[in-house]
């Protein structure tokens, strides 16, 4: 027995020594400045692209070395919190979602970048105001825009044609009508699927729908929640109708964005309202069964919404931020990396993977060649609404998710759900 135990131990030791070299990342040279950078994997720029950017940066500043950490999006927020709790930051530069702007800005987990931007970014106006707004709280700019993600309206032109429509809907009423006809003609069982599971995606869809009805701001100028009146209330009623009339797939209530995209890419849904990634998926034969049939366009809007853009979308911007417990000696270098990674020159090199935040690049001939729908993208980007920027956004969001979900499912009447939502949020803020 003893021998057996010993041999097992030996085996384990050998195994771990054999595997050990895997763990040692290239730590051969140790430059003077080490910047720790937190970024997400499986969304936005790929980790490969980020590392390419990193290498270019290290080439430009040979005394700096970047240390990347890649986490799934779902782990990013708690990782930043973790970093902020330590005496010295675990990550010096982090990818910050715009929904954290309020929390990070007011609690001071990341640093305002106003002075850095004023001094170093000469063409700040080239980034659309709609993007800057996502990162501003009380006049402080909490992150430098890096990823310009937003939603587009996608439709399957083959299905529309079968139903007798040659053009996508321009108004909410027309959209509803097209869905009803598609359903009645049994071309597909459910014309639409959206990401209504109880998660952030549901809030995005709710804000966007409210925007399509004319106003996607869930809080008024005084900072009070207004979901129980006007456009947000109409939006909730509309979402309920889609579900109750069987126009939206019941699976929407448990679907997230990839699931909704799947339904569209498999040819089971005529419409999809989703982030820009769907453009890439729907025309990729290894990921889609509707190659050549998917079209991206602007969103239908209710008549009377006097927005010049005639569309309404939702923002999912992410920026680069500097954590507040980054040592003072590292801050200039942290900023240099932020400025480098977000610079027009670097973004122009990676147009194939992401929509650029800079207008001149977005409207460049190069982008148009890569992405024939660039003008549509530009229109939807100009028409984005932001989710509320408040200090306890994630808590507010979970209340919104809960009641919007119940309103759509019909367990609570729409108006009551909206009232409850407002009351709960007010109670939270008291």
């Amino acid at each position: 027995m003893k021998k057996k135990v010993a041999s097992v131990l030996m085996g384990l030791t050998t195994l771990s020594t054999l595997l050990a070299p895997l763990g040692v990342a290239n730590a051969a040279t140790t430059p003077k400045v080490v910047l720790k950078v937190l970024y997400m994997n499986q969304a936005g720029y790929t980790t490969t692209v980020l590392q390419q950017m990193g290498k270019a940066f290290e080439k430009k500043y040979p005394n700096v070395s970047l240390q990347f950490t890649f986490l799934p999006y779902g782990q990013m927020h708690s990782a930043i919190l973790t970093s902020a709790a330590a005496p010295t930051a675990q990550y010096d530069v982090v990818l910050s979602d715009l929904i954290w702007t309020g929390e990070f800005g007011i609690r001071g987990y990341t640093l305002p970048l106003n002075s850095y931007i004023q001094q170093n970014v000469k063409n700040a106006a080239d980034i659309p105001q709609s993007i800057w707004n996502g990162f501003k709280v009380n006049g402080k700019i909490m992150a430098m825009p890096f990823l310009a993600n937003f939603q587009n309206f996608y439709y399957n032109k083959a299905i529309l044609k079968k139903a007798g429509f040659n053009a996508p809907p321009k108004t909410m009423a027309a959209w509803l009508h097209q869905m009803q006809v598609i359903k009645a003609k049994k071309i597909v069982q459910y014309p639409y699927e959206d990401s209504w599971t109880q998660a952030e995606g549901l809030v995005c869809d709710y804000v966007r729908t409210a925007g399509e009805f004319g106003n996607g701001n869930l809080f008024n100028a005084k900072g009070q929640p207004v979901m129980n009146q006007g456009a947000p209330l109409k939006a909730l009623q509309f979402m309920r109708t889609l579900y109750a009339d069987g126009l939206a797939n019941p699976n929407s209530l448990t679907a997230d964005e990839p699931t909704a995209a799947n339904a569209f890419a498999s040819g089971q849904a005529a419409f999809n309202t989703n982030w820009t990634f769907v453009t890439g998926i729907m025309n990729n034969p290894s990921q889609s069964k509707i190659v050549g049939q998917g079209v991206v366009t602007t969103f239908p809007v209710a008549p009377g919404t006097n927005r010049a853009t005639q569309s309404a979308s939702i923002s999912g911007f992410q920026g680069l931020a500097m954590t507040a417990n980054t040592p003072a000696s590292l801050r200039p270098w942290a900023w240099k990396w932020i400025q480098f990674a977000t610079s027009p020159a670097v973004q122009a090199q990676h147009l194939h993977s992401q929509w650029p935040v800079w207008s001149t690049i977005a409207s460049s001939a190069q982008e148009r060649k890569l992405n024939p729908s660039a003008p549509v993208y530009q229109k939807n980007l100009d028409a984005v609404y932001n989710r509320p920027i408040v200090v306890n956004y994630l808590q507010v969001s979970s209340i919104i998710q809960q009641y919007v979900h119940e309103a759509i499912a019909g367990t609570i009447p729409v108006k009551q759900a909206a009232d409850d939502m407002v009351n709960q949020i007010n109670a939270l803020r008291a």
Binding site: S78, S83, A84, A85, G108, N251, H405, A409
Partner: protein, 345 residues
């Protein structure tokens, strides 16, 4: 100089202790004598585990209690990260106990636990009895039945996510559609009410937390855990001497009577162990629900996780987790006491 001062202090203390001096010295004596000789070995062998217990259980629990009494969150002070624990007394607890969402989570957790246990003591016993029968291929059957228990929980969660997919690609929907049992796909993971045609039952079940999604969770969880329950119970069945049954047969007892008079009581000790282990596992179940439902089905564990790690409210997160801890410990003590009594008898 210093040592003489210490001696004087010690003398003072012993004098002031007066009458208790003899007791104290006796205790010292016993302590030292126990440290020497073979008892030294005992302490040396036991101490690492006790230290580990203090380090990884007791200190964190005490700290969690302290956090739960404060408005605990991460703050930055002068460029340094920090934890602020501004004292608020029992406010976190009061807020939690007044929050209807907490009680819904409590009922959800209870429903999940109780229904799962019911399934395990009925279907589990049935499966064990089945495995104990004589039939062709019994050996391989026992092996096959045991396999799901080895599948890691996260894989099980992902697997049942695919089975329960509410779209047309879901395996369960596909089977039911092909057998013409349903006409359109069912959204298995949606927390929608059951028995919608009987309003009072429907609203009661909903209040209890027994939604479609919750029952799907139970099915997915039981696929993985019924095997271990059944196999443990089978081990118990095999310890029951066959003569008992033969004697019962001679007396003409029916199969059901045999089961009630012999099988069930003699399975008692094993059943207790299964119940303890399973109750605790069910109360802390996290992975399956977190992966498939996240915040759509907020059981107590999920609730605590969300408060702490999503909202950054470590105070109320700790308070909830402390409440679950107390609840679990109470149940554990009741069970373990029962177990000890059973062992005595």
């Amino acid at each position: 100089m210093l040592s003489s001062a210490i001696v004087r202090v010690v003398e003072r203390v012993s004098v002031s202790l007066g009458t208790r001096k003899s007791l104290l010295s006796r205790m010292w004596h016993r302590f030292f004598s126990s440290l020497t000789g073979e008892y030294l070995w005992f302490y040396l062998l036991l101490i690492p585990s006790i230290l580990l217990l203090i380090l990884v259980v007791i200190i964190p629990m005490v700290f969690a209690f302290r956090m739960s009494l404060g408005n605990t969150m991460v703050t930055i002070l002068g460029g340094k990260g920090n934890l602020s624990m501004q004292w608020v007394g029992l406010q976190n607890y009061i807020q939690i106990l007044q929050n209807p969402n907490f009680w819904q989570a409590f009922r959800d957790t209870l429903y999940f636990t109780v229904v799962s246990l019911l399934v395990e003591v009925t279907v589990g016993v049935g499966l064990a009895v089945l495995m104990n029968q004589q039939f062709f291929g019994r050996k391989i059957f026992r092996v096959i039945v045991f396999i799901p228990w080895a599948i890691p929980t996260i894989v099980n969660a992902m697997l049942w996510g695919m089975v329960f997919d509410g779209d047309n690609y879901g395996a369960l929907n596909d089977i039911l559609l092909q057998l013409h049992i349903i006409s359109s796909p069912i959204v298995w993971l949606n927390p929608s009410p059951l028995f919608t045609n009987i309003p009072w039952l429907s609203s009661f079940m909903n209040w209890m937390g027994g939604s479609v999604a919750m029952n799907s969770m139970i099915v997915g969880d039981e696929w993985r855990t019924l095997p271990i329950v059944a196999v443990l119970l089978l081990a118990g069945l095999q310890t029951i001497p066959n003569e008992y049954y033969e004697a019962a047969k001679v007396e003409g007892a029916s199969a059901w009577r045999q089961f009630r008079a012999i099988t069930f009581p003699l399975l008692g000790p094993i059943m207790s162990i299964v119940l303890i282990l399973r109750t605790m596992q069910l109360l802390r179940a996290f992975t399956l629900i977190f992966t498939l439902q996240q915040y759509g089905l907020p059981t107590l564990s999920i609730n605590a996780y969300q408060q702490a790690f999503s909202f950054g409210n470590f105070g109320s997160g700790s308070a909830i987790s402390f409440l679950i801890g107390i609840l679990s410990l109470l149940i554990a003590v009741v069970y373990i006491n029962r177990l000890y009594k059973e062992e005595m008898s």
